[in-house]
């Protein structure tokens, strides 16, 4: 099992493999997000309580759910890098961080935008929004730490450790924030998707969630490939690549 993993740990092979995966990820992501968004924004029925403003969930919910998944992916990758000392895994973790931060930011902005018509105010210390805000801080911490090291091989290792520490803390933070919220606010204002959501609303939402996941994967692959090239710029295979690709 680990022998197999190690064979892909070699930067050159990781670069080539990710190059093969990239077109699939990007094509699927574009088509799924296209279908999901058009369906959700134009064809899905109007909500009887919220009118058309509910349609922001087709962006908000995928972003929110993927913001957490991206953190998990980053921490998993960092864990692999730490335990089996695989540099490619550290780089993958470092590649995910800014994407995760942007997705989290999108979730926050769309959440606030949704809040305006719902609650009449942009920001409410709602449990979910607060957790999302803390998640953004965790991402920014990882990014800031990565940026602070001159030696990027070390930077990726350090950022990886922080990501793992963060992932252990996320459930505790989430739980404590929810609990804090339930103490300080009655449960009247809370974003809860109705569990009995109409299928015409649910399907485009699910398609968009999947599309967002693939999009994050695709952007991660692009950044991962760039990271590999930057870290190996003095290796012969990268020079060769630059010679052959650079001419075009």
């Amino acid at each position: 099992m680990w022998k197999w993993l190690h064979s892909y740990a070699d930067p050159e092979r990781a670069y080539n493999l990710s190059g093969k995966l990239l077109p699939w990820f990007s094509m699927l992501a574009i088509s799924l997000i296209g279908i999901g968004s058009v369906w959700g924004l134009a064809f899905a029925p109007v909500d009887y309580q919220q009118g058309d403003s509910y349609r922001i969930i087709f962006i908000h919910v995928p972003a929110a759910s993927m913001s957490m998944s991206a953190y998990m992916a980053m921490a998993t990758s960092a864990f692999i890098g730490l335990v089996w000392q695989i540099k490619s895994a550290d780089w993958a973790a470092a590649a995910i961080a800014p994407i995760g931060a942007v997705v989290t930011f999108i979730a926050l902005i769309t959440g606030a935008t949704w809040g305006k018509p719902m609650w009449g105010t942009w920001w409410v210390w709602d449990a979910r929004l607060t957790s999302e805000l803390v998640l953004l801080f965790l991402y920014l911490g990882v990014i800031a730490l990565y940026a602070s090291f001159e030696d990027k091989v070390l930077a990726a290792r350090a950022a990886g450790i922080l990501a793992i520490v963060g992932v252990i803390n996320i459930p505790i933070i989430k739980y404590s924030v929810e609990w804090w919220n339930s103490l300080h606010q009655p449960a009247t204002i809370k974003i809860t998707e109705k569990s009995s959501m109409a299928a015409e609303m649910l399907y485009p939402l699910l398609i968009n969630i999947l599309g967002f996941g693939l999009m994050i994967g695709a952007i991660t692959l692009v950044r991962f490939r760039a990271e590999i090239l930057a870290r190996n710029s003095m290796r012969p295979w990268v020079r060769e690549l630059a010679m052959t690709e650079g001419v075009k």
Partner: protein, 228 residues
């Protein structure tokens, strides 16, 4: 030349050395304490002296100030050792690294955390904290500040080789402090309303146990990266 030092002896050797150095360098103990007192005194000046308002915000103010003081004092935890090569020697010593790290964090907590706990009731008086809440304040600080030291030490270990100051450190560790802050302040609030707060303390205690077990490994791994 036999090697006969047990883990326990090694732990106390390091603890003793760190306490000895700190006692010869007293500023390190008093500065964070002064910071703590100063921040708390700023609040009545900022939000007005009404006792009701102050007693309402007292738990939060004291805890946020304790959090910041703890973080600021932590910054020096590994700095000197890093600069004079002691840290490398610690990493290469035959003693288990998590144990050594724990000794250093304990020494640091004894020097900076304990004084905070001792001076907190005084500040509570200034902020008109509810009379019922004093026990909860002391208990949450006693259980919570070690958690702050352990979690904070991870961030310090990650940044010790960098020339950046506390701003980066705060970005790394303040989000991790949120659960402690929430449970500690709600425990004090509950005590003020004469409600039981042992459940809150149990959760903070659980966080202490968890961080006692896990943090030393994270700190050790971080130090290995920082000294690379």
């Amino acid at each position: 030349m036999k090697k006969g030092i047990s883990f326990r002896q090694a732990f106390f050797t390091l603890l003793k050395r760190d306490l000895q150095i700190a006692i010869r360098h007293k500023g390190d103990i008093f500065n964070p304490l002064l910071f703590f007192i100063l921040v708390v005194t700023l609040f009545p000046l900022g939000i007005g002296p009404e006792p009701q308002v102050l007693s309402r915000v007292a738990p939060g103010v004291i805890w946020v100030a304790a959090l910041l003081a703890s973080m600021l004092s932590l910054e020096r935890l590994f700095k000197a050792d890093y600069a004079d090569g002691s840290l490398e020697q610690m990493l290469l010593s035959p003693q288990p690294l998590p144990l050594m790290v724990l000794a250093k964090v304990l020494a640091h907590w004894l020097l900076t955390g304990v004084p905070l706990i001792l001076v907190a009731p005084l500040l509570a008086v200034l902020l008109h904290l509810d009379n019922n809440s004093y026990g909860a304040l002391i208990a949450t600080l006693a259980l919570g500040t070690p958690v702050l030291s352990l979690l904070g030490a991870i961030g310090v270990a990650l940044t010790v080789g960098l020339h950046k100051g506390g701003v980066l450190l705060s970005l790394l560790i303040l989000p991790l402090y949120i659960p402690v802050l929430i449970f500690a302040t709600t425990a004090i609030d509950a005590a003020g309303l004469n409600l039981p707060y042992s459940g809150h303390l149990a959760i903070i205690g659980a966080m202490l146990v968890g961080s006692l077990i896990l943090a030393p490994f994270a700190i050790g791994a971080s130090l290995r990266v920082s000294t690379n």
